[in-house]
């Protein structure tokens, strides 16, 4: 592993009002990696990503690409190339696919390259080119997920934070989405993936952290975790 991680999280605690959702979470992601955060519902996985993109209150130390995230507002974090693709797609429902993509390139760093980025996104996700003039809310779940990922790519990310890209999708579609993620990663984008779909996530990622009740309880290389009995028991209760 290279010396300086791209993303470093140290002693992160996060809050919704008076409710604490994360307790003293620490993790590293290195450039070029795919890292997965897995765990049951409401374990705090999404909160971790929201802390990174600056839309929930948190304490601790977060640094990305050498920048301290403490004082940065959400749009400034986007300018660093740390891009969050939220859970449940969250497309802009009354805008077309193409408009959704363009809004993804709103940041100054991405706006200059909007035409080229759109072409690249269409190349990687040809379905979006077909549907470019359709309203985002009228597409199927898989297409919406593609659009959300495409929108994230439009921001020219150094690192993508993906929150449950498999949510509500049929297995065959999940497979397609995941293949695209591999391509994106191979093209040089680091990925931090939050997943509930355990096996799929462990196939994709090189390393994973298991989160339970807001705390990291297990971490390691994916192939070691895959057969770890502690993991299945946390999930299936047997």
């Amino acid at each position: 592993m290279s010396a300086q991680p791209l993303l470093r999280v140290e002693g992160l605690s996060a809050f919704y009002g008076d409710l604490q959702a994360l307790y003293d979470v620490s993790l590293d992601v290195h450039r070029g990696e795919i890292v997965a955060i897995v765990g049951a519902n409401a374990a705090g996985k999404s909160t971790l990503l929201r802390s990174l993109s600056g839309i929930v209150q948190w304490t601790g130390r977060l640094s990305f690409d050498g920048h301290d995230l403490q004082k940065l507002r959400p749009h400034e974090i986007v300018e660093l190339g740390l891009i969050h693709v939220p859970e449940g797609r969250e497309l802009f429902p009354f805008m077309t696919v193409e408009e959704n993509l363009e809004v993804g390139a709103y940041s100054a760093r991405a706006r200059r390259r909007v035409v080229a980025s759109k072409e690249k996104a269409f190349e990687l996700l040809p379905r979006l080119r077909e549907r470019r003039h359709q309203l985002a809310s009228t597409m199927s779940g898989g297409e919406q997920q593609m659009c959300a990922i495409g929108r994230g790519l439009m921001a020219c990310p150094e690192m993508l934070l993906l929150d449950e890209p498999s949510l509500g999708l049929a297995p065959v579609i999940i497979q397609t989405v995941y293949r695209k993620l591999v391509e994106i990663n191979e093209a040089g984008t680091t990925i931090l993936l939050v997943e509930q779909n355990l096996k799929a996530a462990l196939r994709l990622a090189q390393r994973a952290y298991v989160i339970e009740n807001g705390r990291i309880v297990l971490e390691g290389r994916s192939e070691d975790l895959r057969d770890d009995p502690r993991l299945t028991s946390a999930y299936l209760g047997r």
């Binding site: 049951a40 591999v182 997943e195 509930q196 355990l198 096996k199 209760g237």
Partner: protein, 241 residues
Amino acid sequence: MTAFLSVENVTQRFGGLVALDRVSLSVEQHRIHGIIGPNGAGKTTLFNIIAGVFPPSDGRLALGGEDITRFSPEQRCAKGIARTFQVPRPFNGLTVLDNVAVGALAGSSNVAEARRRAAATIELLEMGEHAGNLASSLTIGLRKRLEVARALATRPRLLLLDEVMGGLHGGEIDRMITTVRRIAETGVTVVLIEHVMPAIMSLAEIVTVLDQGRVLATGTPGEITRDPAVIAAYLGDEVAA
């Protein structure tokens, strides 16, 4: 045994999206019936339809033989259906006691009586020491218990619990399991939607598994955990990356 709550061919569409596809389910009286499934399987949609948040696009609901498909939430409450909310919705400006007393109002002649009944329910949920505190000051674990207390105060025949274990610590989960079991022993039928698998395996007598808006399997917990289709749906398919 006849079904106490029966869900017949319920379909729910949101725009072009089919969230539930001809789901049928029957809950027998005095049972704890679990509903599980991966995220996005349609559990919450099904729950909302049973609780009356919106009517289904198609299909029918019956409670004790009576058609309740088009009943409003307050009518369902009067018929003996009570629910909790997955993300707790306490009345923040009210004390814990008054929160529960709202649930007890229907069967009481005045507020004092409702508060007395609420106090008893609060004891049952082992949160007596918090009765005078504002609901907004509670931790997540206590908010979940408050949800249950409030619903229970309406004296339901059918109690719908929506992920009451979610976000709880180990010890809290054990307490909640004991509580739900105790409630069921008083003769209340319980429908439990849950993500925390150990909890549902130890509580539920019958489990229905939803996936992609359809019923994947129904059976005892033992049968369910051995069903290969369920394992695939729940742990996720082996995806060749």
